[in-house]
Each structure stands twice: as C-alpha cells, then as structure tokens.
Symmetry: C2
Amino acid sequence: MSTRLPVELAKSYRLLNHGPTVLVSSAHGDTVNVMAAAWSMPVDFSPPKVAVVIDRNTLTRQLVDASGEFVLNIPSRQLAQATLAVGSASGREVDKFHAYGLSTFAAEKIAAPLLQGCLGWLECRVIPEPQIQERYDLFLGEIVAAWADPQAFSNGHWIFENDSPRSIHYIAGGNFFETGAAFDVER
Amino acid sequence: MSTRLPVELAKSYRLLNHGPTVLVSSAHGDTVNVMAAAWSMPVDFSPPKVAVVIDRNTLTRQLVDASGEFVLNIPSRQLAQATLAVGSASGREVDKFHAYGLSTFAAEKIAAPLLQGCLGWLECRVIPEPQIQERYDLFLGEIVAAWADPQAFSNGHWIFENDSPRSIHYIAGGNFFETGAAFDVER
C-alpha cells in the first residue's frame, strides 16, 4: 500500500499548482475507471477547488456525472507508461486496472478509489455547473480530502531531490517532461 | 525584440499543456498591465481554448473585463524574478513594466501586448461566460494567434536541451520548479 499522510486542505492546491499531469479515478456502483488528464488546475484556495476537463465521450464522464465525485491522482515518472496507456484506452473496452497492473485503495470521503504508487491524491466533489460541463466538458470540484506520499510532499512542500520520485507533465504523443530542478526567488 | 515564429493554432495548446506558470498581459485604452497566473490550462484543441483564473480584485481583471482580450505569455527561468514580482504587486500602484524592466511588442490579433523574453505567447479572446467569471474568477478564452521563440519551441515541439531556456512552474512563496528532463513513452 502506498504510504500516505493527510495534507491540510489549505495547502492541498500545492499538489497541483505546478501543473502536473493527473490520473482521474472515478466510481459508480460496481464500475470503476481511471483516465489521464493533462488539463487540470486549482481554481481557489479556500475552500480549495480544482477544474478538470473530462471529455463527454469517456466512461469517466459517465461515472463522474452519476456519482458527483472524482479523485485527481498525481503520478510519478514510474507511472508514465500507465498514464499514457489509460489516456489512450477506454474503460468501456478494457479493465484498465487489470490491463495495466494498477491497484487502488480506499479514499476517505468519497467512493472513487485512490491509485497506488502516486505522489499525491485529491478527493473531489463536483460543484455542479451544468452549463460549462455541457459546453466545454469542464468540471469544477471542491477538494474534500488530500493526501501525499511523505517521500514526495511533506509539510506543504514538494521534495524533488536527486533520487526522489518526480511528477510528470504531458505534451503530446508519448512525450513528457519530468518536474525539474527546484529554485527559489527572493521577493 | 524577441525572436518569434507563428505556431499553428492546432498545436498551440502544446505551449500550455505541461502546466507552466504564465504571465497574463492585458490592455484597455491607455492602460496596460501584466500579472502572473499559476492557474491556467488548455480546455480544447479546435478551436483551441484556454481557461485562466483572474482574481476579481486585480487591475488585470478590470482590463480583461473591459477589452475581452488577454495574452498568456510563457516566461523562461530568466523571468522568474519578474514573474514573482508582477504576481505580488498591483498595477494600480506601480507601472510593473517600468518597475521590473519589462518591455513589450505588439500582438497580431488583439491590443494586449506580448512580453519580451518569453518562450511562447497565446493571444486570446474571452469567451463570455459571465456566471463562472463572477462565481469563480474563471475565464475562458479562444486562442486566436500563437507564437514561440524557435530556440524553445519549434515545429510543434518544445526544445528543452541542456542550455536552452526552460519554462517554470510556481508552487508558493518564492518556490518554483523548472521544466525538467524530457522523456518518451512507447504506446
């Protein structure tokens, strides 16, 4: 099981602030799915909110519409192959968890599961905005619980040192960047 | 003047897909401003659209509300100090261009200017969605022209080699990451 510690909600936006590609997990009834999303971002600090694009043709969309919940999982480079795979296949045609060797564990506040091996997890409840969901496939969610692997994010800060796992940033095709060197700027 | 080449609109989302922090420039009448935004993302490929959070208390918000336009400028690490500075000061109190040594050049399709020294530029027209603008400070824009420094982005691909300028990803305080090593995953 992934090691995880709670992240205080006021700092949970920091898991997403640098723009990593995420995996969106969702569940409704007995159906569970996961897809990749390069298009997500924070939209507010308090209460913390996120935005994510969930295409209308996906199984994830159907599960999120039905459940009103989703998890943004922040994968490490070790999960890049799986990220590309779950972003390419449909959960209607393949059990992605079985096909790509992904396992899950229970979230605290919602039914959608958390993906093993990720660096951070944001449990979200949909803030209903039917017009933008319909027009733009754009979903807003309130973060109701947040977790991080303390080897990657601790006390509100990412730890991306030489040998620590890093988050990833998708471009197109199979092309990614990892999160690079940290630097500080003085005010 | 920054070297720039046009980016075809179908590939313009790739300037933003990896989640860099951007600088939002705007203009109305004689007033011009620039602010930083960690919260922006693509929302569609064709026509290409973006989403960005523009706080209701900013001068930028006033200019974008009045003009219906903005530019997302993608700064390099060389502009990180300026990025933090323009994200901390208000254009109502200081001429940020003068104060932080920033210069601009003309956009093609809109009146808001492009910032010198950036790696890419997305000229955007607001897609009016008053309800989400008001509730969440969330703006949607259509990309109507896109440009890149060919040393950083060429033929639809980022070039982040050892000595090339890199985009940046803000976390909090003065803490940033640069865009790191590229890697490819086979499907």
